[in-house]
């Protein structure tokens, strides 16, 4: 069981900044995110895109913003449960919350802050009849353990970076790699595209374009897929042990919608007059995941919401303590790692 003061669901910019504001109040944080790395959309969707409306930054790349936030919160030693999706929430008798992930990891905290953005990123599944039947029986939407494809016949579908990169990687360990894409062009980093061309020439990857997988065959397990050339209409059947469709990720509110939270327009309703608390006392929602009159889904609004939320969380965790907000220019920043940052003292001296 992981215990912390504030359990943050979602490690995007809002979730990360919450660690800083909580840290100033000497509260510890732990973050859960379905993605394998922190940063949320900023890292997953548009790391190389510039953002122009972060106060104090005329221009900052989304990926750099995440790096800076990670550096800013480092002294507060946040914990991370990455690659797992928060699945269920329960309240204990002594008024703590226990949040369990899809992999069974349990987290206990007095306060839960949902900073889930648009939801957790789930793989987009192609509509091929009967594909669900073969999930985990040859069909996978993510490559979790590449070793399981050793000496196997693998079909990959998709035309983006992940389809290219996994084709290259698996070409070394699988016995056969077939890459199917709807267009003749592939979209990916130049060196990945060149590598695939090279492997294709060597016969290590067989490429089928413009084609789509339209049927899956097998008994208990996947045995073959059938694809159709979208130009000629000709069908080809490929005997295979694994089929990996890689069509990107799309965000889904998912299990959060079963937590008893008040939901409006695919977002969680909060009290914006005070502290961004949801209808469940002790559960807050901040950043893109919440809604209230006049809501704007901007990173800078998420930062503000996180800051006010932490004040309320402090009161909930320490009901008997009085807290007076201190400027970082006055109080400095004292990390849980023993580090201390503060403004240098001015020199006071007579001028003669």
């Amino acid at each position: 069981m992981i215990t912390t003061d504030i359990l943050i669901i979602g490690a995007g910019p809002t979730g990360l900044f919450t660690v800083f504001e909580a840290g100033l109040l000497q509260l510890k944080c732990h973050l859960i995110d379905a993605l394998g790395q922190p940063g949320g959309q900023c890292s997953e969707l548009y790391p190389k895109k510039p953002i122009y409306d972060i106060p104090g930054y005329p221009e900052v790349l989304a990926g750099d913003l995440v790096d800076n936030l990670m550096k800013q919160i480092e002294p507060f030693q946040p914990g991370f449960t990455l690659g797992e999706r928060a699945e269920t929430i329960e309240r204990t008798e002594d008024d703590f919350f226990i949040v369990t992930t899809n992999k069974g990891t349990k987290h206990k905290a007095k306060v839960v802050a949902i900073a889930g953005g648009l939801g957790s990123f789930e793989p987009r599944k192609p509509e091929i009849p009967g594909i669900e039947k073969f999930e985990d029986k040859g069909v996978a939407y993510l490559v979790k353990e590449p070793e399981q494809y050793r000496d196997k016949r693998v079909v990959i579908a998709g035309g983006g970076d992940s389809a290219l990169d996994w084709s290259i990687f698996l070409a070394e360990i699988a016995s056969e790699v077939h890459l199917v894409h709807r267009r003749n062009e592939f979209r990916g980093a130049l060196d990945s595209v060149e590598k695939v061309i090279e492997l294709k020439k060597k016969g290590k990857i067989k490429v089928y374009t413009p084609a789509e997988v339209n049927a899956i065959k097998g008994g208990d397990r996947l045995e073959a897929i059938s694809l159709e050339n979208v130009q000629t209409g000709l069908s080809t059947e490929i005997d295979c042990d694994a089929f990996i469709p890689l069509f990107g990720l799309s965000p889904k509110l998912g299990p959060l919608s079963d937590w008893g939270l008040e939901i409006e327009k695919n977002a969680i309703k909060v009290d914006n007059t005070l502290d961004y608390q949801t209808n469940i006392p002790g559960v807050y929602a901040i950043g893109d995941v919440n809604t209230y009159p006049g809501k704007l889904k901007l990173i800078l609004c998420g930062f503000h919401e996180a800051t006010l939320m932490c004040q309320s969380a402090y009161q909930r965790i320490h009901p008997d303590k009085k807290y007076v907000m201190k400027y970082t220019t006055v109080g400095g920043v004292s990390g849980f790692d023993g580090s201390k940052k503060e403004a240098p003292k001015a020199v006071v001296k007579t001028l003669d």
Binding site: L45, Y46, L118, R124, P126, H181, R187, F247, G248, S250
Partner: protein, 109 residues
Amino acid sequence: MSDVTLHITDRRGELHTVEAPTDMNMNLMEVIRSYEIEAEGTVGICGGMAMCASCQCYVESEHALDEASDEEEAMLSEAFHVKENSRLGCQIPITEVLDGLKVTVAPES
């Protein structure tokens, strides 16, 4: 500048005829959102960067639209339910040439 009239069929098949301004730097995805033609959070998920295909539309009239950019083409090549006349709404700026445009919002995926 004047408004243009757009005929947008939603995912349930209902037709919405709406007025859209040409002087507010809007795109088709934003028009769909501002009139709440589809449920919030199901269109324009990436905010208009051509990085998801949640605003995919089928263009059903003969309007001369600007060609799709490489980024839009790349996104459409990975999207589902793509047809010959598929476009991303976020990549279609609202200008006077769009007056009378007919589109249908593609299914959610």
